[in-house]
């Protein structure tokens, strides 16, 4: 048993240091959680979540669970969330969800219910546990925190622990099933073939300009122009009719200030 643990694991009364740390980090954790839901951008959202998880990791350490605290920070925050961020970057960090709510009253009701549930559970726990102190912490950590967890994992919960392998296999199979497309030989293009196809006559190798680029109007219906001034297809929605504005239409209307 290390000194740090002894300090932290002082069963019963909450020490001042613990209280101060809690009151600093708890709002941050909440802020992170709210921020995660609030952020429009997925990357921001993930980063907010990282904040919450970090705070939680510290809480675990404070609660005399240094192992789980470290695992939280290293595995969740360090590995899983980073992996998550990679995926987000790959998918495209610009793609942000529309946050327009189509269901009437949904948002208000959801917030009200969420607050209500939190209040109910929070006050309930507070009233139930007011004045109670933690028990069994010393016994749990008697042989060291990691050893304690190991003992539980390999005795009482050994079956549950082993069965999680089924979960992992299922998850792997699921990822394959949902994401893997089998290509037959010949369907797959090599790098050389892809390059050749890209510069083949009739294909424009660069990115196409957006609607209205180099055009006389910024209407979404106005096709973009290539640098040589020719109009190009496929830069605006196909359901819109392609049209060039007449000069009178394109002329300033005198309404803008």
């Amino acid at each position: 048993m290390t000194t740090a643990q002894t300090v932290l694991a002082a069963g019963g009364a909450v020490s001042t240091g613990e209280a101060v740390t809690f009151w600093i980090l708890a709002p941050l954790a909440l802020l992170g959680a709210i921020g995660m839901v609030w952020a429009r951008n997925a990357v921001h959202s993930a980063l907010w979540l990282v904040l919450t998880m970090l705070c939680l990791g510290v809480f675990y350490v404070l609660q005399a669970g240094p192992f789980i605290g470290m695992v939280q920070i290293i595995v969740y925050t360090g590995a899983i969330m980073m992996l998550f961020l990679f995926v987000l970057m790959l998918v495209g960090r610009d793609s942000s969800d529309s946050l327009i709510e189509t269901l009437r009253g949904q948002r208000v009701a959801a917030v009200a219910l969420g607050l209500g549930f939190a209040a109910l559970i929070g006050t309930g726990l507070f009233r139930a546990l007011e004045g109670t102190s933690a028990v069994g912490l010393d016994a749990a950590n008697a042989n060291g925190n990691v050893q304690g967890i190991a003992k539980l994992l390999f005795t009482k919960y050994v079956f549950a622990f082993e069965v999680t392998s089924a979960l992992l296999i299922t998850a792997a199979v699921g990822a394959m099933v949902l994401a893997h497309v089998e290509r037959r030989k010949g369907e797959r293009l090599s790098q050389v073939e892809q390059m050749k196809a890209r510069f083949a006559p009739g294909n424009y190798p660069g990115p196409k300009p957006g609607p209205g680029v180099f055009a006389t109007s910024s209407s979404v219906a106005t096709p973009g122009r290539l640098p040589d001034g020719t109009l190009t297809d496929g830069v605006h929605s196909q359901i819109l009719p392609t049209r060039e504005l007449t000069s009178s239409e394109a002329a300033p209307k005198g309404t803008e200030k």
Binding site: T102, L103, Q106, A109, A110, L113, G114, G116, F117, L120, I121, G124, R127
Partner: protein
Amino acid sequence: MQYAPATGLLSTMWLLVAIPLASAAVLLLLGRRADRWGHWLGVASVAASFVLGLTYFFQLRGLTNRSVELSMWQFIEVGSLKVDFGLLFDPLSGVFVLLITGVGSLIHLYAVGYMEHDPGRRRFFAYFNLFVAAMLLLVLGNNYVMLFFGWEGVGLASYLLISFWNHLPSAATAGKKAFLMNRVGDAGLLIAIFIMFATLGTTQFDEVFTHVGALTGGIVLMMGLLLLLGAAGKSGQFPLQAWLPDAMEGPTPVSALIHAATMVTAGVYLIARSNPIYSANPTLQTVVVSVGALTLLMGCIIGCAKDDIKRVLAWSTVSQIGYMFLGVGLGGGAYALAIVHLLAHGFFKANMFLGAGSVMHGMHDQTDIRRFGGLSKYMKITWLTFATGWLAILGLFPFSGFFSKEPIIVAAFARHGWTAWLYGGAALLGAGLTAFYMTRLFVLTFHGPKRWTDEIEHPHESPPVMTIPLILLAIGSVAAGGLMATSVPEWLTPVLGPQEEAHGVLSHTVLTVLATAVTVIGAGLAWALFRKGTAPQELPAGPVVTAARKNLYTDAFNEAVFEKPGIYLTRALVFLDGKVVDGGVNLLAAAVGGGSGRLRRLQTGFVRSYAMSVLAGALLVVAAFLALQMGWLA
């Protein structure tokens, strides 16, 4: 009363019922594949039952306790109600088995010829076998529930066979009429069985009869009246007689077997079987006698006015069963007399029905006796066999009726006081009227000038397959009465009690002379009136004849008293059901539907809204727990 358990050969008596039943099942299940040979299977199965029945009968004669019971399995067991599936073979059921299978075999044989050109012959035989099986179950059951099974089975078979030609509206209607009127009777029987169970806790014959003496008079009376209602329904007795003549819409073999020889006598069987109940209450007996006397006169009077050969025979059946009811109602030794008359009637009435069928067969299905005449020349065998039946029903010495009907008349005169004159007189008058209308029927059909229409070029005799049964039945008509007059009552003693000599207000000899005289007068009158034929159409007539033609207004009575109010009641109920009940239900349905439509909108298809409903649910559940159990939030 103690029944001996069946041993040896008698323990196979279930075969009696099983063989025709299996045959019916085969015929119905195989469908058209059995069309070519199905009718012979039908005949063979009934004949096999007859042979078996004879074997059992002789077995029974060798026993000392001639009531043999075969309990097969516990059929119903609910609480204290236990009903065995059991059979009882005793002298009474023995003679019925022989009548049903014996006459049944002959009529089956006859039907092979009669139904030859009918496309539904296999189906007909299937129903016919079904009937025989059910009828055998009826007389063989050892408790009232078994009897009721058979009772319903014959009702069903009768319904199916009356409306066998269901493409004819009249046949379909007649089937429904028979079914409905029988239901009224069946309800009576059923309630009687309920009462038995409620008061005695059993429906086994032996137990019921042993304990019936312990019941109060009111309950016995009630039970007896309800049984009588059942019996009247099945046997076409007043007030449920109207269906029987209409039932003649069925094929003639059906009329002969079911509506003359066997099924309609089930009521007599029921009362004879329940004799301890009836003997226990004199009032009950008086009611039965009155029903019998009234019905026998009614049947005679209406029979005089009918012109349809089968209807006349049908009303004569009603009237003859009236004699049997009179017999069973008189009680004591008359029970056996009724059974003797029943058996004799089974022969001669089946004979005459089949004869009528033979006549119709030769006359293009003409049934109007005003359109017959002089057929004796063309159908010799039919004529002669019909004549034996005619003489038998008249009751002239030495034909059956003399030995079977006469004793009932004598027994009726053996009652006390003025009732002797009332019931005896009715029976005597009935004998005269019977002679009149049966002679009328016979003369108009077989003698006098020919009155048939031109399309019938020449009437012909029926094929041997039809005439052979006729001849056999004719022999029965001549001989049965004489043979059974003393042997059968003796044989039935274990069931119906010993015979006693009846001593009435008039001596036996006087009555015999009187009855013969009345019969001869009636017959002579009819012969004189109809020797020259009759008008081919219905002529205007006085009130009595008109009333008789209209079935003594009983149909009109039924219509006015039961049918019309029934229709109005139904209409009222339909109105009530439509407006009030359905309205209420519809309102509820609309409420449910509306609620459903509204609730459905909560099912938006969006996960976030679903999650919210889960959250709301969780919130409510937690809050409810804490509020209810912790008293918080309160």
